[in-house]
Chain length 326, copies 5
């Protein structure tokens, strides 16, 4: 499936239904195009090599799932792979498992070609609406790129905030009751956060190289916009790092609270045993069957034994209190 947006410097925006006029459109200096390929058929994909003459390796990386962000500069265009949040598989309430979708992007003087799977990124979805709305500023390829990345980066922050809240909640719960399924959720979250962190580390470098003006395709006056995107993404990367530390802290808290719980349980066991074993022993003594045990014949023997038990128990309880065990 494909969508071919055509922006004419004067006549505004239209959508081209097929590839027939593509070569002509590319040649017209008045026209900017955005070709969005969503799970393209083989015939559709062929346009990348036959019309745009992109590098075969870049096309190969586009059509496969490449796996992590990258940027490649060619003579007259740039090939970028960025990752956005996959909202179709996101349900923070159930699990903190955050997945990303890959967006392949060829960015040239008067064209931009994007490729993605289905479901597409939310930012692409929104961009299709944005470009159709009437506006006073013409859509250049730089402006499309900026809007696309801006929306993509802005989608990260609310998700990161949700993860942060959940993580804090989890750590609080762990401190009050270190249960294994809480740990399992923290470990899952940690895995997901580490994946995000690695992805953001790469993506940050790409956005930085756009913001630093390393590409001649982006004119100086637009740099401030890309620097803004970069600054926002630095916050995402920063939060990813912070949450990784948070998840690590939660695991340590789990271990510490488990150790504490062990001590609590052990204390109860020790208190019970320490009181009960001596009392049982006393009972055992007077349960012996010796013929000549004066206490047994003594009329106050029973009260004496019970008294002995009470004194012993009381002594032990006082000893406990001295040791701050009660």
């Amino acid at each position: 499936m494909f969508t071919l947006h055509v922006f004419h410097a004067q006549d505004g925006h239209s959508i081209e239904p097929d590839f027939g006029r593509l070569e002509a459109l590319r040649a017209d200096p008045q026209i900017t195009i955005w070709l969005d390929l969503e799970e393209p058929s083989e015939a559709e994909a062929r346009v990348l090599s036959e019309v745009f003459h992109f590098h075969p390796l870049a096309i190969e990386d586009t059509l496969q799932d490449y796996g992590h962000p990258k940027i490649d500069t060619f003579a007259d265009h740039v090939f970028i792979i960025v990752h956005g949040i996959d909202f179709s598989r996101l349900d923070i309430e159930k699990s903190m498992d955050v997945h990303t979708l890959e967006l392949d992007l060829f960015f040239g003087q008067r064209y931009i070609v994007t490729h993605h799977g289905n479901p597409s990124l939310r930012s692409i979805h929104d961009l299709h609406k944005d470009v159709c709305e009437p506006g006073h500023r013409p859509w250049t390829s730089v402006r499309i790129l900026h809007r696309m990345l801006d929306r993509l980066v802005d989608n990260f922050l609310p998700v990161m905030d949700q993860i942060g809240c959940k993580l804090e909640l989890l750590e609080d719960m762990i401190i009050h009751n270190p249960e294994p399924d809480l740990l399992e959720r923290v470990l899952d979250a940690k895995k997901s956060i580490q994946r995000i962190r690695r992805m953001t580390a790469h993506q940050r470098l790409i956005l930085e190289s756009l913001a630093r003006g390393h590409l001649e395709l982006i004119e100086r006056e637009s740099l401030a916009f890309f620097r803004d995107i970069y600054d926002h993404f630095v916050r995402v990367a920063d939060l990813a790092e912070a949450y990784r530390e948070g998840a690590q802290s939660a695991v340590e808290a789990y271990l510490s609270m488990s150790a504490n719980k062990t001590n609590e349980i052990m204390k109860v066991l020790t208190q019970i045993s320490t009181v009960m074993l001596p009392l049982t022993f006393i009972a055992g003594i007077y349960g012996m069957n010796f013929d000549s045990m004066p206490e047994l014949r003594w009329v106050y023997g029973y009260p004496f034994a019970v008294g002995l038990m009470v004194v012993t128990a009381a002594g032990l309880l006082i000893w406990f209190r001295r040791r701050h065990w009660l």
Copy 2:
């Protein structure tokens, strides 16, 4: 709400009640202005774009809560976001939760524009008093910026010192009695310190770029002042790093002391059980009901049994002492 300070090179300081003469004041080369916006109304905020013509993205970052320090250099001014301690929410005695407030700052040749929420930073509060006091040196925008950052940085150190004291106290308490609520407080402190640490890492870079003379707006002879601020903030960043290590140490101390406490409790349990179980067993033997148990009929049976118990107990206690368990 806004406050508009006007500093005339000869006639000194006055406060302008409204924006009417703002354009004229900006144009006058004899005049330096400081416009402080506190939770500005929409009309007040519009002055940023309409009078000062700041970049729309900088204005957007100003009016939202941006989240972490940054610096952006424009053709004739600099946009800075710095963070200061939020004293309105600080109560070290109760919790080590330290929050920061954001200060947005536009700094140009003869003007400085600040924006913040309510409550404002203590340093802004103090600066309003400072500029009103009569002094022999004129207030240039560089001097206002320096004083502002100087006060902001100086407010960090006493707070850091308080955190350091509390942390040391906590670690001492943990070593003597590893209780879970102490751990909880340490984990809370750690979270707060990590937040400060990340913030200081960014802020330090900003102060460094001011101190290194990267900005043409700051003349060479003023650099020593900014270097001084930078040096002071390096200490803050340094302390944040130190306290992070300290908090980590405290968590490790908790784990170690918990392990130790487990052993202490276990030792008591083991000692009691090891003494009591054999004695109870002896009592159990002579509690058996066999018809032919010579000891039971023996006149010294009872003392013999008690003696056997005493000898057993004594033997076990000696064995304990040999193992350094008592």
Copy 3:
């Protein structure tokens, strides 16, 4: 053993059976050769110094097992040592022990000389087939090098993916049942991953220096191909780092789950002891042999004692439930 491929610019590919014409072939500007030495005899190895005049230290490093990747630039050729997966010793199902094989490589203007042990790398094995197939593009030494490295790097990714899957599986198993043999497998995996990680760190630098165009032997238009290999290998290195973190997480999970299991076992022990010891004590009391124990003579004594036991047990169970222990 050796294989000597000869690529003539016009006449295509042939395999030379012996070294007789080697000097002549090297001198012919129309001809590119690939000499592959597999565990060469001493006579075969002598060709490195006598025909190609390679540096004696490079030859020494070639004939020994050098141990880790490196690159050395000489006046008119480059000496490279790279590592590929050793598929002959790989059986991910049984163990995650991944070994690598060394490939020594001399790369010059119109020749490439490779040296390896037996079994050789799978990439070399495949390359022998590749070069024999008829194709329209001539095989230059740069193209052979590229194809060789491309295949070598591509062989890493599926193995890394298998390791990733197994590791995730192991961590899941550990969380549900922390058994020591699972830990042993994780520790084995960690060791193997750390070995891969160190190797990839070095190999990555080598591929980067090829991709950055530091070598004059690789013309500018071929750099994109080497950059592609480099990008793919960055992913391998990235995964190695990720799996190292994953293995570390699994060890931490093991410790946490062990602590949890200890608590579970302790809880059972404490519950049983806490219920049984008091009951046994009550039984012990009424097993005492005092002459004057009114309860013993009482007709409802026995039901009373049993009742006392039931009440005690019930009280303890209620206390457990209050403490969320049941």
Copy 4:
């Protein structure tokens, strides 16, 4: 309090009792002066601004306790803050708490001004003696600076060595008997070492900038001397890093040995319980009061019961030995 050493190129050394001739001395190109201020009175401190015209911020940092090392270069002099061991509070035998003293230092063409509290650094104390001794080489400000730093750095090494020995001793003691007060001492040591480590990290940079010839005040032929001081201090920093790792290891050893001790105690408890509980149970059976228990009437009942107990105990002990528990 102050001491004012005057070194005349020809006439040697004298001590000036007051500030009267200070201005004249500074102006004389034949004279080098060293002014040492120890807890100066306000009048004495005023000489810094009035005679030497140092920067007000440097004077402020001098008179307060600044907290960590720094270097500031001014037009014709350098302001340095270095730290030396505080021997007055050092008692390695009792505690590894190492404190440092601050030395503020203005170093110019023909003068050196030092400022410190009371007690002063040992290196300053020694330097006062050194400069009074007759020698053939004249004391220039560079030579005074070198000697001062040389003595300061040399005082570090024996202290570091003492810490190293104590730490190794502590780790050995922990491995043989993990007691909580040993842990407390290790944690104290760790805190002290981390403080030293942070200080050395800063101080090292300062000494490096002196050794690298960044200051024009130090002529090229003297650089070797400062490089030597730098090299010595690198060792101090290196040791601080090593001891930090050592302290960390000791904490880990404590945890490991505690876990081991837990196991040892648990083993004893389990062995005793496992032997005693079944025996007590057997005794309990034959303590039951059933009318018809054939064994009770049997003449060999008692020996049989005892035999049963011996067999049970022996069986359990054999089982223990099989499990390598004894």
Copy 5:
């Protein structure tokens, strides 16, 4: 003690018995000398300053034990301190305690002066033999330096390999039986490895500066040889890093396996207690002395009680099996 090798460009090698002709030999452009000082007497050491005029600080560092590798460049010579394995104190079978010996080295145009203690490095020992053997290439000071460092570095690798094997063995042993003396050996090994790692980090920088051609004394065509030494040493440093990680892993394995062992022991204790306590309680009930206990009079009372015990025990064992405890 000293050995003075003299290499004449034409007449080959001889050993000079005393210092008499040293000045003359140094002046002769046809002659290269190697002076090896082993624990020199004061008179012998004086040659460093009086004949060679080395820098007093370099001589001081030479005659003392300096402690870690360094390089100092002077106008016409280089002063290097390197460390080699001390084979005289090495016994990997007994302990992994690896010590290093210091070699002080002055390297100039036509001379090399070495200084070391007794026992000397194995590489020096071997070099004395090497230079005496007749060869076709003349011994220049560069060639002596190369051979010396080559042998020194080559001696590291087998020792590192032995450490690696031992460490792997230790980790395996710990996983199968976490005994405290194994931990002690691992902690000892870790300490030793960290010492090697720090030393290699410094030494690597020195070898790198030799290999990079920073010294004018080493002509370009010899650089490949020093690069080779550097490459070999990178492997040593790499292995040191790997073994540090390995030792850390072994400590973690110890903790994990200890936790596991605790669980194993606890399980046995819990199983025994859980079975024995209820049975003992049943026996206790029928050991009570109530007059009216119908079961006691019942002819099948005893079998009933035993049956009750069997059923209880069986029930508990089934419950254990359900919990996967048996």
